[in-house]
């Protein structure tokens, strides 16, 4: 972190000096045209480096937070699960001792609550786990197709149609296929939850360039559900923020998804589609160097 701050200060100084020089050159007139162009080029380069440094710094801060959260949640998970295990054993004992129907319902509800609390600790651990992606060079379309084969049957029962729209010749990407499947299952399940009466999900993938002019694969998952409110859009990736409390959402699914995409040095955003429904846009870099180098670039 110290090194980053030092480099940041250096870059800020260089940037200011070049800006000054550039302004002076502008004044000096056209005979300096050539120098001016080369300085402008340098200025652009430094600005680009500065932006990358800022993004690396924010990733580092995030990584530090995640590391602390990991330690904390492992401790919390253990401390909570032990009393939960006692409650579960107590309920199970009562189940065989008390047979009255009304009490049976109460016990079932209590047991359900135990499993729910246990699931939260499990999700919290998954969310905070410091697992680096096990990268493989892979055709993303294949990963998506495998994921679709898991959910296809369930979705057809819920009257949800899935359409895939992959552009021809998608470049290979270096991703962790299991983590990516987790991402797509989460997103597809969310899309399905947004359409209780049924509807359509489109999953599209194309080769593109991001704002830094780097080659990426862009995946867009759209549904025909009720869309997303501005408040939800702001907070949807926050841990424990859920719009599905009643149906058992823990508010960690999308946080996990965002964490995985960030570990792949990709981007994810969510937006309303003009005709209704929500679109989730994922951008993944195509080259492993861009994933591995990150800060060092």
């Amino acid at each position: 972190m110290k090194d980053i701050n030092k480099t940041k200060e250096q870059l800020i100084t260089e940037l200011a000096a070049l800006r000054r020089q550039n302004a002076e050159l502008k004044k000096a007139g056209s005979e300096h045209q050539q120098e001016k162009e080369s300085d402008q080029q340098a200025l652009l380069e430094i600005e680009k480096r500065y932006e990358r440094l800022l993004s690396a710094e924010s990733r580092l801060i995030q990584d530090e937070k995640m590391a602390s959260l990991g330690v904390l949640s492992a401790g919390v998970a253990h401390e909570i699960k032990n009393p939960l295990a006692i409650i579960l054993q107590g309920i199970e004992l009562l189940e065989i001792s008390l047979l009255k129907e009304d009490v049976g319902d109460v016990l079932a509800m209590m047991k359900d609550a135990v499993f729910r609390a246990s699931k939260i600790t499990k999700d919290l651990l998954t969310f905070s786990r410091e697992s680096a992606p096990a990268l493989e060079e892979i055709d993303l379309a294949m990963v998506i197709d495998e994921t679709l084969s898991f959910v296809d049957h369930i979705f057809s029962l819920k009257q949800i149609r899935i359409a895939r729209d992959f552009s021809h010749g998608l470049p290979m990407v270096k991703v962790d296929p299991n983590q990516m499947k987790q991402v797509f299952i989460n997103l597809l399940t969310n899309a399905a939850e947004a359409m209780p009466e049924g509807g359509a999900i489109t999953i599209a993938a194309e080769s593109a360039k991001n704002i830094h002019n780097r080659k990426i694969v862009r995946i867009v998952i759209t549904d025909t559900g009720h869309g997303i409110s501005d408040e939800d859009k702001q907070r949807i990736f926050d841990p424990f923020y859920t719009t599905r409390k009643k149906s058992g959402g823990t508010g960690l699914g999308l946080s996990v998804v965002k964490g995985i995409i960030q570990k792949h040095k990709g981007d994810i955003k969510i937006e309303n589609k003009p005709g209704g429904g929500t679109g989730v846009i994922i951008e993944l870099p195509c080259h492993v160097n861009e994933i591995k180098e990150g800060v060092a670039e």
Partner: protein, 127 residues
Amino acid sequence: MQEKHLKKILLVDDETNFCTLLKLNLEKRGPFEVLTTTNPNDVMKLAKENKPDLILLDILMPEMDGMTVAAALKGNKDTKDIVIAFLTALANEEDVRDMKGIAGDNFIFSKLGTTEELMISISRILI
């Protein structure tokens, strides 16, 4: 006569209430006789005296962790053949997979499964 068919289990967990309740659940539901202790230092003595068919061992205990207890049992000629299964409150499948290396030939069960599930797992290894 019936007592002969009972499988003897030694349950080791620092939570007294967990021991009491799991003992009752197992004994009421299946052919088990469950001895319990909350003190890992007593395990060796109890194991030698009672020759259990299975020792269910909590992993994280304040006085001594379950892995150390298991290593001591496996290192002693009188107790080395007793089947050991760790009981863990750790949260997910991945943890259990990660711990397979540490657990060696021993089994690992989740503390937050139902008694039915635990009984199925126990039956599988004892029958």
